[in-house]
């Protein structure tokens, strides 16, 4: 049994179901209560759960994320939204020095069951401070788990898993996916496990390793390539930490070629991390260099003609695949 809903609706359902089953969970962020979120993720929540569990914050990100850490240490399950992932700069300490570290530094005395949702991604003409894809930065801090779903079903399933996870989980939600309508299972307890990649498309010539919105672009590229007789596998990581290394290994062992596609600034990207791991461990499997298809090493520009050059489109992926395969 399945139904068709938007990605934002799917996230909403995931949050709603977990709010109902877990009375330690609460939601906190800017415009989450009275407005029900700028992307309508939490409309109606305030009425159902009241102001103690659905909290409109002032614009004080470092403050309220710090509070979420403290509440999590006390056994609550805070689900915090940062309006855009770009704003992680104003609350980096509670995330990177507190949520990520306090379990370890206390010798394992506490868990920090905190979920931080961060809308991300470019393409909305929001310019340089509202368009970044900062998953690479977050993945660099041990102590955090990181997921980045591309579909309605994964978004719901992963957010539910994140909310049940005892560790801090950062959820990257691409803003341009929110309005996408997709099939999703009816099952109330539909979970997507953290740490499990998804072979979106099987193929034998090359593996495209990707996540979030670029999965869709990679699928488009795969169709185009198929028309030219090139058969690529699209591996949607879904979770970035812990990475599903077995899935990457299995796929590359089959295809012997890989590219990594993400919207990140290329320099210092998580795409680079994956490439380095492949170099370290699967070197002998490779027939050709691993390429990355990422954003440029620039600030995200506002003007559409400029911004469109700053994240990978299906044609960029097609070109990279052909380059790697020498076709």
């Amino acid at each position: 049994m399945s139904k068709k809903i938007t990605v934002s609706k799917a996230i909403r359902e995931g949050l709603l179901e977990e709010m109902r089953r877990d009375d330690k969970m609460f939601i906190m962020g800017e415009d989450m209560a009275v407005m029900g979120n700028v992307f309508a993720i939490t409309t109606g929540f305030l009425d159902e759960f009241g102001p103690n569990r659905v909290i409109d914050t002032p614009i004080s990100e470092e403050g309220f994320l710090g509070m979420a850490v403290g509440a999590a240490m006390r056994g609550m399950h805070p689900c915090v939204e940062l309006m855009y992932d770009d704003f992680v700069t104003v609350c980096a300490d509670p995330l990177f020095n507190q949520a990520a570290k306090l379990k370890y530094m206390s010798g394992g005395q506490c868990s920090i069951p905190l979920v931080l949702r961060m809308p991300m991604g470019s393409g909305r003409r929001n310019a340089g401070q509202h368009s970044q894809s900062l998953e690479g930065m977050v993945c660099h801090f041990p102590g955090l788990k990181v997921v980045a779903p591309c579909s309605a079903a994964d978004a719901k399933g992963l957010i539910k898993s994140a909310l049940r996870d005892p560790d801090p989980v950062v959820v990257f939600e691409h803003k341009l996916l929110y309005a996408k309508k997709e099939e999703i299972p009816e099952d109330e307890d539909y979970l997507v496990p953290i740490g499990k990649a998804n072979v979106k498309r099987e193929g034998k010539d090359l593996t495209i390793i990707t996540w979030s919105r670029e999965v869709n672009f990679s699928m488009e590229a795969a169709e185009k390539l198929a028309a030219e007789g090139i058969d690529v596998e699209v591996l949607d990581l879904r979770t970035l930490v812990p990475i599903d290394w077995e899935a990457i290994k299995a796929s590359i062992a089959k295809t012997h070629n890989a590219i990594i596609v993400s919207e990140e600034v290329k320099r210092g990207s998580y795409a680079g991390e994956i490439s380095a791991q492949i170099a370290e461990e699967l070197f002998d499997e490779l027939d050709a260099p691993v390429e990355r298809v990422c954003g440029l090493n620039i600030v995200s520009p506002f003007s559409p003609v400029l911004e469109d050059q700053n994240f990978p489109h299906p044609d960029d992926i097609v070109k990279a695949v052909k380059r790697v395969l020498n076709k």
């Binding site: 800017e30 415009d31 009275v34 407005m35 700028v38 409109d56 914050t57 002032p58 614009i59 004080s60 990100e61 470092e62 403050g63 770009d86 704003f87 700069t89 104003v90 909305r124 003409r125 929001n126 310019a127 340089g128 401070q129 509202h130 290329k266 320099r267 440029l296 090493n297 620039i298 600030v299 520009p301 506002f302 003007s303 559409p304 003609v305 400029l306 050059q309 700053n310």
Partner: protein, 335 residues
């Protein structure tokens, strides 16, 4: 009544100037909104309609050598400062002729050369540090300029408010913070997330003087800002002015603002600054035709700005990697 008497201190010319600036701001915003609705613009825009009097009054108190920072809701500041609506509109369109060559858009207009405009900013609160830093530069260099940080009510809940005002107070920086309090940060009514009726009053925690004024009265704002600028310029340190204003639209253009009670807009319209000042001017003997003339001049000016923006070229795609670094740009961007 009191206000009326006070206004008599000011010449008709000055009040007409306020009126003209206010009308020009509103007309610019209405044009921008129309372009947005028609899909001519990319991204979001945040409009200053309802805040014109505060902006006109404040900027009349700012000297040419002074500097300022702005926010996501920054078009009005550009107009009030005497910026070029053509280049501002072109920036909203993402055109090469825009203030930032199309790289910044509505939320990032800056004009460091002519306007001493250190930039609108997409990060709520970021202008607090930048304005304080500009004031620090003035203090170190010993120039005679004051920096004005313009921002909204809700940005006062960022930690930078506290950090930067404390430093500015301790170091007696020539800094004025101008808060346009429209009572909302997106959907969140400010009094649901703060514990005091006013925001400028927080300045007392750092022994900084402050004023809270009616932001629909350009004269009241002008007077408070003049006091503030004089204070800052004379080496006495920072000053905070809060102007109570209305934000007619929702947060961004197109936001229906259903989170807001109906009375908010009723009050807003009952206090419409342009209407109020128009009436006052007519009481003072200005002909309605003269006011209409101002309005139609603004219409023509902003029609022109839209035309300019619309007809301007987009940046060349090759420009995408320009302007990242001043030195060694190519290598820094290459890998």
């Amino acid at each position: 009544m009191a206000t009326k008497k006070k206004n008599e201190k000011y010449s008709k010319e000055m009040l007409l100037d306020f009126y003209r600036t206010m009308v020009r701001i509103r007309t610019f915003e209405e044009h921008a909104a129309e372009c947005f609705t028609k899909g001519m613009l990319a991204g979001n825009i945040h409009l200053s309609i309802g805040q014109e009097a505060a902006e006109a009054g404040a900027f009349a108190a700012i000297q040419p050598q002074d500097y300022f920072t702005s926010t996501h809701r920054g078009h009005g500041h550009v107009i009030a400062r005497g910026g070029d609506p053509k280049r501002a509109m072109a920036e909203l369109f993402g055109k090469k002729t825009g203030y930032c060559k199309g790289k910044g858009g509505s939320m990032h207009i800056a004009d460091m050369g002519k306007m001493n405009h250190l930039g609108a900013n997409g990060i709520v609160g970021a202008g607090q540090g930048i304005s304080a830093g500009s004031a620090l530069a003035s203090k170190i260099m010993g120039d005679n300029s004051v920096t004005v940080g313009c921002f909204g009510d809700s940005s006062t809940n960022e930690g930078t408010f506290h950090e930067n005002l404390n430093m500015a107070a301790t170091w007696k920086l020539p800094l004025v913070w101008f808060i346009e309090n429209n009572c909302y940060g997106v959907s969140t009514e400010i009094h649901r997330v703060t514990n005091t009726p006013d925001l400028a009053s927080r300045a007392a925690a750092y022994d900084v003087p402050f004023a809270v004024v009616d932001g629909t009265d350009p004269v009241a704002v002008y007077e408070a800002m003049t006091t503030a600028m004089d204070h800052a310029r004379s080496g006495k340190g920072p000053y905070v002015v809060e102007a109570k204003v209305y934000r007619y639209q929702g947060h961004y253009c197109g936001d229906p603002a259903v989170y807001r009670p109906a009375e908010y807009m009723e009050n807003a319209l009952a206090n419409d600054a342009i209407e109020k000042l128009g009436k006052k001017l007519m009481d003072m003997g200005i002909k309605e035709a003269e006011l209409e003339e101002i309005k139609s001049a603004a219409q023509a000016e902003m029609d022109e700005a839209v035309k300019f923006a619309d007809e301007s070229p987009y940046p060349d795609p090759s420009e995408v990697t320009d302007d990242m670094y001043t030195a060694d740009n190519e290598r820094c961007v290459a890998r």
